[in-house]
């Protein structure tokens, strides 16, 4: 029923979704850094992800490596087209990644690495949002290569998705920190969370409304009957989730908002998928056109079937080991 390219399109979409969710709250903590008190609050916030950030980021490597392996043509076109935002993302990730270690090794210059953590997280997220927007709006291809210029990615839409993702990750980070921390730090995040949620909801709504007007093809997909009927649960569910998050935040339930916020991300992501499929480079290259031969995809599928359950198991184990609230000033004791 499903051929190998479709299976791999699904697996890669899943890998990127897991990345967005996991590194989303992780990067979000960095974006929220200026709102936290210097010293102990920031240390506690960082400690909530210190044991898992590296694993979270590995999903991004799987996304890149998997795209190269399964859809080499798409990988080569997308990376050339989005050269600037991809490299900007990498530079951001460098600064925030090393800050996890450097911050503790050099207390005299904690400020520098606080800034590195914030700036790196912000740059990486903004760039990812731009990549997303530039990807959705379409990429110019001739033959087997990107045929546009090195600033084609820069449009009002891509800047807008960049900003939306910054607030989105910050919101996810806030929900995570509410779940993982206590005291003043948690209070500060509760205060931030409602305005953040409002902004995220407005921005996501605008992106959702804007997307169909990028191309008649996307417009048709969303607004033609009977698809409109099948797809209408997506925005309805999103509104429902947002309401549940609001209620739980009001009730000061520390543990509910985070998984609900993840749900909101999953829905937005599904909406994107609906706008993009069956393209792997929007409106230029389809999944089938870009797919590596079955001898590549089949060989990799064996690896995915063996390793993905193991990875999910020990990643889950690691989260379980470091479960519970992180107390300020005393790390994981």
């Amino acid at each position: 029923m499903f051929d190998l390219p479709t299976i791999w399109a699904g697996l890669l979409a899943l890998a990127v979704l897991i990345y967005v969710i996991l590194d989303g709250f992780d990067l979000g903590i960095g974006i929220l850094y200026p709102a936290l008190k210097k010293g102990e609050e920031r240390s506690a916030a960082m400690n909530t992800v210190a044991p898992v950030w590296d694993g979270n980021e590995t999903w991004l490597v799987l996304g890149g490596g998997g795209l190269l392996a399964a859809f080499p043509l798409a990988y080569s076109v997308v990376m050339s087209a989005l050269y600037v935002p991809i490299l900007a993302m990498l530079f951001g990730l460098i600064f925030r990644g090393v800050s996890f270690e450097f911050r503790w090794r050099d207390p005299k210059h904690e400020k520098i690495w606080d800034l590195g953590f914030f700036g790196g997280s912000l740059l990486a997220t903004f760039s990812q949002g731009i990549v997303l927007g530039a990807f959705v709006q379409g990429i110019q291809v001739e033959g087997r290569a990107y045929s546009g210029g090195w600033f084609d990615w820069l449009t009002p839409f891509s800047l807008f998705t960049g900003a939306a993702l910054v607030f989105g990750y910050a919101f996810l980070g806030a929900m995570w920190l509410i779940m993982k921390t206590e005291g003043d730090l948690r209070e500060r995040l509760y205060k931030l969370s409602l305005p953040l949620m409002l902004i995220v909801f407005v921005l996501t709504g605008l992106v959702s409304l804007w997307t169909p007007f990028l191309s008649p093809e996307i417009y048709e997909r969303w607004f033609k009957m009977p698809t409109l009927f099948y797809l209408s649960p997506v925005p309805v569910l999103a509104a429902l989730l947002a309401w549940r998050i609001y209620v739980n935040l009001k009730r000061r339930n520390d543990y509910r908002p985070f998984p609900l916020a993840l749900g909101l991300f999953v829905l937005s992501y599904a909406g994107l998928g609906i706008s993009i499929y069956p393209y792997v480079v929007p409106r230029a290259v389809t999944v089938a056109q870009a797919a590596a031969p079955n001898s590549s995809l089949g060989f990799m599928l064996i690896g995915a079937v063996i390793f993905l359950p193991l990875i999910l198991a020990y990643t889950g184990y690691s989260y379980w080991v470091f479960r519970g609230k992180v107390k300020q000033g005393e790390g994981y004791h």
């Binding site: 090794r105 590549s296 020990y314």
Partner: protein, 466 residues
């Protein structure tokens, strides 16, 4: 090809060699250090001696910093194939992509998944599970080396593929692809190189502290372990390197001709010790040579025939001076390492290993040699593969993507600045940590690591001492 394209190609090559050259330094160290940490923790569990856990605590902080730098510089690599070498990615993706995907699935996740427990989880999971986490990280570094070296070796000695109608390499036989002809040699050579690199860093740190305090127990234990490694493994590396060279002679004779500085194909070729291979004049100038020895080493016959660079069209030759001199740097340092190893055996036998100041000073100087040898060795094999990315099949000039020169120039400049600043700080922190003596109660650097491995281990230590 017009001049702008040539410039873009040059810049893309510079950017790749710079970013991969910086990156390789970190895994060279972490592959060895992960194994060393596993050995230290294993010895602690087995003997209960405090010195082992103290050394474990000492090196794991350094490991964490090096590992973080390896991760962030490595993510760059996984995207740079596409940003700068998109034609190469499109053509080789069906073969190399799955190898990299296996690296991510079997190695990167394993390392990352257990690193958190290794760094912060001792009090959460107990000693035995913690040891298992350390082992998983060490095994992960090895799996990573396995897959990435398989991919690199396939570019050197491609096998098990066919070429489809759009010019992509398509896998036909995965066993032949993974275990391509140069892979076993390159894998063993590189893993040993990583172990030696780590041994000489550990030896240098130990020597530094022995020079200040000959009674420092931690330094003595480290020094002894490092020197055993040097004495046993450096000679093995020379042997493995020779076999790797013979394999290269079989599959990439032009690379060996450049390494040896031979332009003429000749029987009974000399071994050129030093000289300047002049690509224009097609001769190695100022050569200091030993007659017949070149043939003897490469063919094991005094009159064996060795192919020279002139046997290849000019446009198919690698840059001889770079390959020639990088090779000499690598071999020279490898020989020095073996000599230091032998010297340590003699001192050990005379019971002077911990008191010989001159030897400690030399060991200190030897500290960075592993890194230099690794860079030199990779320069030999990568520059020696030129002008191809996939040897004999895909030219480097036909691998580069459509990105314009100004974009690459800008990113190269940013890479240079960011790497020097970020990794400069990192190396400074590492050196500072190494400057602290591995003695109880010493922690001049900020040791209050977020999730307090220190305090956990010191409580455990005091419990055990009671």
């Amino acid at each position: 090809m017009d001049s702008v394209d040539t410039l873009a190609l040059l810049l893309a090559r510079l950017q790749f060699s710079f970013t991969i050259g910086v990156h390789i330094l970190f895994p060279s160290f972490t592959i060895g250090l992960a194994s060393y940490l596993a050995v230290l923790e294993g010895l602690w569990l087995k003997t209960g001696k405090q010195v082992y856990i103290r050394l474990f605590k000492y090196w794991i902080k350094i490991f964490a910093v090096v590992f973080a730098m390896g991760v962030v510089s490595g993510i760059v690599m996984s995207y740079e194939f596409g940003t700068n070498w998109s034609v190469f990615s499109d053509k080789t993706g069906p073969v190399l992509g799955p190898l990299l995907a296996y690296e991510v699935l079997s190695a990167f996740f394993l390392e990352a998944g257990f690193l958190g427990i290794m760094l912060f989880g001792l009090n959460k999971v107990g000693k035995k599970l913690h040891f298992m986490a350390t082992l998983m990280v060490a095994i992960g570094t090895f799996f990573s080396a396995f897959w990435i070296l398989s991919a690199n070796s396939w570019m050197q000695t491609p096998a098990g593929y066919s070429i489809n109608e759009v010019g992509q390499f398509v896998p036909e036989n995965w066993v032949e692809i993974i275990f391509n002809p140069s892979f076993p040699y390159r894998l063993v050579h590189m893993v040993i190189a990583a172990y030696l690199t780590t041994a000489f860093v550990v030896g240098a740190v130990a020597a530094w502290h022995l020079l200040r305090d000959k009674t420092c127990e931690g330094a003595k234990v480290m020094f002894s372990m490092a020197m055993w490694m040097a004495a046993i493994v450096a000679p093995i590396q020379i042997f493995v390197g020779d076999m790797h060279g013979l394999n290269t002679l079989e599959h990439q004779p032009a690379k060996v001709a450049a390494m040896e500085g031979h332009f003429e194909t000749q029987k009974g070729a000399p071994l050129i010790l030093f000289g300047w291979p002049d690509m224009e004049a097609e001769e190695t100038k100022y050569a200091v040579e030993i007659p017949k020895l070149g043939s003897l080493i490469l063919t094991h016959h005094a009159d064996g025939e060795i192919v020279g660079l002139k046997a290849f069209p000019k446009e198919d030759r690698p840059n001889a001076p770079i390959v020639f001199w990088s090779f000499r740097i690598m071999v020279g340092l490898g020989t020095l390492m073996a000599l230091v190893g032998f010297w340590s055996l003699w001192l050990r036998w005379r019971k002077k290993l911990y008191t010989a100041s001159l030897f400690h000073k030399i060991s200190l100087l030897m500290g960075p040699t592993g890194f230099i040898a690794v860079l030199a060795g990779w320069t030999v094999t990568e520059v020696g593969r030129q002008p191809y990315t996939v040897y004999g099949l895909l030219r480097t000039s036909q691998s580069v993507g459509p990105v314009e020169a100004p974009a690459i120039a800008t990113s190269l400049a940013v890479f240079a600045v960011v790497y020097f600043v970020v990794f400069g700080f990192g190396i400074y922190y590492i050196l500072r940590m190494m400057g602290a003596a591995p003695t109880p109660g010493q922690s001049p650097i900020a040791s209050d690591h977020p999730i307090g491995l220190d305090s956990v281990m010191s409580t455990q230590a005091s419990k055990e001492e009671q």
